[in-house]
Amino acid sequence: EAGVVQSPRYKIIEKKQPVAFWCNPISGHNTLYWYLQNLGQGPELLIRYENEEAVDDSQLPKDRFSAERLKGVDSTLKIQPAELGDSAVYLCASSQDRGNTIYFGEGSWLTVV
């Protein structure tokens, strides 16, 4: 069974440019998460979806970050415009339902220069 798939794996952009990350969760998983991992830190939740509904986006900086999960499967996380401090790993994860085990993708590594 395929795991959580993310792309791109690595991205280098100049500040003020936009960037988007894509995530395909494990088949049949209704809950999808985006986590932010800064260097040397543990991941922190940005947003959680149950099907296509964002049920927890309290930690998402909405002035520059946006996310969507159309049709309740794939998801896209966008940053516009990117700032130097956005350099981090963006991890997508999924679970069958909330409260079940969460499985992570390999992450999208962003460097803003």
Binding site: T31, G42, D56, D97, G99, E106, W109
Partner: protein, 112 residues
């Protein structure tokens, strides 16, 4: 407030030696507890989890962890470390909402 503390930022052990990574949590109810491992340039892989029941949990790669409610701890152990175990280890606490709170991680270095 909910939180997870991993007191050891960096640990070095010799190959073949035993390992214990510490994790303490602060949580208002009975937590769900997890240990994840992250190799350089990779995502997080689940080692083991505790939801309820037996407080000694077996995981993959020969790891185990013990939930001690009285000490608010969920320490990870392995009897004999292999060089391939060198990685970053994260303890996390969650509940039935699906949100995980992670510790800062412990970097494990294995000496030959």
């Amino acid at each position: 407030a909910q939180s997870v503390t991993q007191p050891d930022i960096h640990i070095t052990v010799s190959e073949g030696a035993s390992l214990e990574l510490r994790c303490n949590y602060s949580y208002g109810a009975t937590p769900y507890l997890f240990w994840y491992v992250q190799s350089p340039g990779q995502g997080l892989q689940l080692l083991l989890k505790y939801f309820s029941g037996d407080t000694l949990v077996q995981g993959i790669k020969g790891f185990e962890a013990e939930f001690k409610r009285s000490q608010s701890s969920f320490n990870l152990r392995k009897p004999s470390v292999h060089w391939s175990d060198a990685a970053e280890y994260f303890c996390a606490v969650g509940d039935n909402t699906g949100k995980l709170i992670f510790g800062q991680g412990t970097t494990l270095q294995v000496k030959p």
